[in-house]
Amino acid sequence: MLTDVGLLALVLAFVLGVYATLASYYGGRTNQDTWVESARNAAILTFPLLTISVFAVVYALYALDFSLAYVADVSSRAMSPFLRVTALWGGQQGSVLFWAWLMSGFVMVVLLRKWERDRELMPYVIAVAMLTTAFFIGVVVFITNPFTRMWHFPGAAELTMAIFQPAGAMPYIPEDGSGLNPLLRHFGMIGHPPTTYLGFTGFVIPYAFAIAALITGKSSGDEWIRATRRWTLVAWIFLSIGLVLGGRWAYDVLGWGGFWGWDPVENAMLMPWLTGTAFLHSVMMTEKRGMLKKWNMVLIILTYSLALFGTFITRTGVISSVHAFSKTALGPAFFGFIGLTFLGSLSLLFARWDTLKSDHQLESFLSREAAFLLQNMLFLAITFAVFWGTVFPLISELVTGTKITVGPPYFKRVTGPLFAALVLLMGIAPLFAWRKQAVRKLGKAIWVPFAASLVLSGVWGYAHRMHPAVYPALWLVTFVVLAILMEFWKGVRARIRGRGESPWVAFQKLIGRNRRRYGGYIIHLGVVMIALGFIGDAYLKSETQGTLQLGESLQIGEYSLRFDSLDYYPGSDGREVLEATTSLFKNGELVTQLNPRRDYFVVQQQPVTIPGVYSTAAGDVYALLVGWEEIGFQSSTFKIYINPLIGWTWLGGLVMILGTLIAAWSPSRDREGATYTLKPRQASLSYLAGD
């Protein structure tokens, strides 16, 4: 039986994970390479074993093996084979296994690639990474095992869950499963968990290197940073994609017209993203100037801890959320692990505090260094504000006995200005020189985008003159975009003048020769686009609701929506679809047809509201079918949102991916090896240090 093989592989993976942790630590302590070598093999082997286990679960889901409780819970005959496979991360048991599998994959790749290079760090990298991996595998084996079966004792009212047949019990195999939660059947929710997990688990690599650097006392150098730079970038972009996909899912499926609700679950993901973003930037200071070493350590430890913290609060339901997660026995085990990670990292950090001194000191408050420092502080301030707002209900209930939930207004008011400052810094900071920036030169570099942005945003703001508050926000994004584009233009112009290249060739070579820098600028452009979506959401949104008879229209702004018909038909995946046909007019002209729907999933008895959306660069018209007359379908109630600028958020996500690909891409060896090679096998170090 494949499931038995999967279970066996899972248990073996756990044993190997524990062994690798202990053996590598022992080998590192006693300087015995054979132990480390053996631990490394065990760690590498964990991945193929877990792969077998994952395959067994996926196959059971695909083949509808309802003898497994997990399969009966998240899969059903009515689901398409593709959906059945994605149900691997549709429930908790599968999710944790998937998580452990991804993490062991990261560990395997890092061990295969990096073994010869950082021998000193390796024992502890293995120990830290495998301790974490073993913990998650342990959770799968002992707490939420996807290979659990259902058993029935004669005469008992309830089923018994157990992996092996209890004496006297009969196996219970239902005819059909209950199927994946209909809300999760959306491309955003199919892509969101894997990307988020890749992001969260990916951060274990830089974290393990950081802790290994602290243990070995090699933390004053930047080897650990150079070795993990690209890992960090990979983890970060997956976390970013996860955030954008999650937002897109909320927008398409939850039917409240927004994409970010400052819910604890969302915050839990945002916090490690914030500190991770700060870390990505902050490490450049260590590489270039040997500064901010303490910051880097603190930031990577925070990022990893916040990822664990976020998983903990969302998976255990410690902090109430409007998302309903199931309660499980995961809590106590996870709590112990988090406590160990927090306290262990902190004491190690303090023990090595004096190795983290800066090589240089800050020379001027007007310098690239100061800008990096400021951005670290801003990111940390936002993280703290989000953290405070997230745990506040718990604190208030403990202290005053009254639970006080701070809603989205708190988050918007506190983080809004900080995010604005960060965006502004994103525009100015790249103009600053290292060490010290002359004010005159800065003024010269800034005045063109500044003047142009005033004019452009003035025109743009005029289009939204009903909402004067939006003007500064529009100026900010215009200015930052122009400042970034100026950087591209200056680079291209220099190449055209200096080398006589054509503009297009100059543009390509500019990016090709400085992938990290210009990739970064492209990511910045993506961030500004996402900020545009938030600006539209904060200032320009409008909504209306009304009940329409056939042929009647509902007006909102320059749009009107006419109700043409309401149809009922059976859909795919076991749903019954109620679909309205409406015509959207803009200033009296027909622009498109919108079909807001209400899909009712019969088995789960759960309806899903699917909006009809008309998207343009200026914004979305988002129509929901919220009510209808049961008999005759003569009238329906619609809710319409105008969500200006929202499309930029999704585009911004794509631009960020593009920028990251450029920044992380391995350059061909002959061009600029030094900038990107992690630590070449034979090349001399001095070559690297001067980059």
Partner: protein, 204 residues
């Protein structure tokens, strides 16, 4: 340490901004604060974990409460025996609540003459925004603020929206976490209305 020679400029140690001392390890106060923070956070999480593992109250007798509505009326749950009571926890800042609001009101209008009482408990909100919400959805059933979050604590709610079903005899018959979707509320009310009910004799 590199000596920093820069003409006429005062050097600034970037690490000072972190609030840590220059020499050796971090100042003992800082490390004390950091440990204190972590331990306090862990303590908070442990307490939250213990609390959450108790789960919401969803069976047995519904905890009794008295609610003063926004209109100034006073309702006491124990005085509503013989009627099916739907207790809905909501807040004006909660998007999923908005999603279920039209359905709740619609269901209330359908059942209000059949021995069903709806009670909206407004959780952690401002009166002004709550009244605007009630006006927006034209809500006509009882609604009042949960002063001091006493009611939500008695029910140990996990968040909003949450809806508790109370049978005619005052027993809890389940809880819906998250927004209600048609026709689940109708189904539940029909089920509870169908239950027989004999009023208890007042004790002699």
């Amino acid at each position: 340490m590199t000596e920093n020679i820069h003409l006429g400029e005062k050097a600034i140690d970037p690490e000072v901004a972190q609030g840590e001392g220059g020499e050796g390890g971090p100042r003992s106060l800082v490390s004390l604060l950091a440990y204190g923070f972590i331990v306090a956070l862990l303590g908070l999480l442990a307490w939250g974990l213990i609390r959450v593992q108790r789960g919401p109250v969803d069976s047995g007798m519904a905890p009794d409460f008295t609610l003063t509505t926004f209109d100034g009326e006073t309702i006491t749950l124990s005085e509503l025996r013989g009627q099916v009571v739907i207790i809905n926890f909501w807040a004006s800042w909660c998007p999923p609540c908005r999603e279920e609001a039209p359905y709740l009101e619609q269901t209330w209008r359908k059942y209000k003459d059949q021995g069903v009482v709806f009670i909206g408990v407004d959780y952690v909100d401002t009166e002004e925004e709550a009244l605007a919400y009630i006006a927006e959805f034209d809500i006509t059933y009882y609604n009042g603020p949960d002063l001091g979050t006493r009611i939500s604590q008695a029910y140990n709610i996990q968040g909003v929206p949450e809806t508790y079903y109370v049978a005619k005899n005052g027993e809890l018959r389940g809880v819906k976490i998250g927004p209600l979707q048609p026709p689940e509320l109708d189904n539940k009310i029909d089920e509870l209305l169908a239950e027989p009910y004999t009023p208890e004799e007042p004790s002699q």
